[in-house]
Symmetry: D2
Subunit: 200 residues, 4 copies
């Protein structure tokens, strides 16, 4: 298996997707991927909005040293896993804003053939945990990416909510325990393994 | 509010969607809708397939006297609620087969302006409970129907899994209790109320 | 039919969706809707990005006096039609950013029961003209809106590309002629008529 | 590159998807894939329905010697391309019926890690050409397949309607010419190339 450049790209308001992304980073490193970049998507909400939610404010502070994702990270990556919360079944504006800056790379074919998948969270068990990932995959398909969602390729899937589109959690309700971590690990390792073969 | 013709149309292999549909029928009657038709979609699986699953065989027998849905039911209805399980995120072939016979009605405009929504079930919490309903709504939009999904318009939504696309359950795992029944009732009553206004 | 508050809300970079929205406004006024508000979604792209595309810069200048949409417009509206371009099959970040500010209204139930539909554009005939509208409708369903997409409820649909999810055009390729205008008018008038009945 | 087992699986009522599938078969053979199986999905419509449409009747006769797809073909395949028409934005019941028989293979993990993509047709330019493929991909993800949709990875994409989700045509309107054939070829060759690397 050849080496893989893995980008773990997340947006997190109050920390859930940051945690999922940390586990993805760990799994990537343990998989012998090669290199792993851990990147946050830039917060674009106004400070006043953030200040109204103590958990949000706290997480912004806690993650202040995480490197922000750049276009170079996309170009560099062989495999990309996104971890992002839902916004009414779609992507948060912070994520969409980053995606909207990729036109230049896209038109040069620099986003094609990436291996991609996603993880997500919502406030309700059925409040966008499936549909958000399908929206992400639409965009990935426009990029020419290869979608490696987990399906039901491992027992950890069934123990973590059984989301074939990607690991997902109910924020603030699902315990972020080993069942979730194991499913994250499986999703990442499978993706890296496939990326490694394609890179060979 | 004027009277409403409500069609409750379901497909059920092992009984879950039959139960949801029964509650929808009850809610429709209690709403003073006017008339309610309770209809099953024809089973098209071969007997040998059914015989391999005792629960399926038992339910086929238990529901043998339920009237099968006909094209006339669609034409008659002002409002339609579907209750159907997922098949890998899409509609079961039994349901699709019925839908595929509606071309004649569709081309004459007889399916336009129906009020429509759906309920569903899956084996896993995130195994198609959202995406199946969005597939149903695509078809409803092609028909020219008006989609009245519940969103988060009632506290019962939050207590039953918080599926804005329509009530859904994890078959064999979620208890079919009053929390579920209340959410079904709300979904149906809201739909009937809206249909009543449109009919006035 | 009672009076209807119709909000026409658009985002446009180079003018296509501005034109579609203008036709929607005209159709709303001609339908005797009551009041029509014509609103643009705030441009959030940096000036340097806009300056690299002369058509974009020109349109920003041309539309500088159009009132920006506010949360009050959403609360006020009985019916909302969005006109927005695709971004890789999803909503532009400008649109998503506005949507992301609606949490307060949503949690008080102020977004429920709106009548909603959308129009869109893409650079390619099959480059998101369907999927973008389905993403919009997911969000509308989370709001508790009633989706009144056109389906095939009028001959103008077939003459304008036959998009049942909402009028759409291939930006810069489809001629914005009477065929398109007629389909916009039908979509708006049907929506207003239905909203009027629900308001009665 | 190692050898690839490619299954071309289609359903066609009046011949459009049969033609697309033939081109996919040809592209597969020319790519040096290894082995290509060309398979039709069983027609399940009643003879009386078919007899009402002369083109349908004629195509059933013309394709009568094509081998019907079996579960063994799925298990055998490394890569699968589907060519199927839309039915109101979803899969035809014939296709769904075949898919509904795959539970046994699925539960043993025999559908995991296939490379998959699709092609489609609709009666209207925007009448399901995007959404049908996204419904197919949902199911493929449930299977654990790896989605290799074309995106915009070749100039032939832009010349054939620009559908990133997979080649699509407006049945009876789009000319099935070299522009279409080239896009089919690209889609298949890219898929086979990727499958070959994964098999190595």
């Amino acid at each position: 298996m050849s080496k893989v450049n893995l980008a773990v790209i997340y947006y997190s308001a109050t920390g859930t997707n940051h945690q999922l992304a940390k586990w993805a980073e760990e799994a990537g490193k343990n998989s012998g991927a090669g290199e792993v970049r851990f990147r946050k998507i830039k917060e674009t909400a106004p400070k006043e909005a953030i200040a109204q939610n103590k958990d949000w404010e706290k997480h912004v502070e806690a993650a202040k040293d995480v490197t922000e994702v750049s276009l170079d990270d996309l170009e560099w990556a062989d495999a990309i896993i996104f971890s992002i919360p839902t916004r009414y079944g779609n992507l948060p504006s912070q994520v969409q804003q980053f995606i909207d800056t990729t036109g230049g790379l896209w038109s040069k074919g620099k986003l094609a053939n990436k291996i991609a998948c996603g993880m997500t969270s919502a406030s309700n068990p059925h409040g966008g945990q499936e549909t958000t990932l399908m929206s992400l995959y639409k965009t990935m398909i426009h990029w020419g990416a290869i979608i490696v969602a987990p399906g039901y390729t491992d027992p950890s899937l069934f123990e973590s909510g059984g989301n074939p589109y990607g690991l997902s959690v109910t924020a603030g309700k699902d315990k972020l325990d080993d069942k979730i971590k194991n499913a994250v690990s499986h999703q990442v390792k499978r993706m890296v393994e496939i990326a490694g073969k394609l890179n060979a």
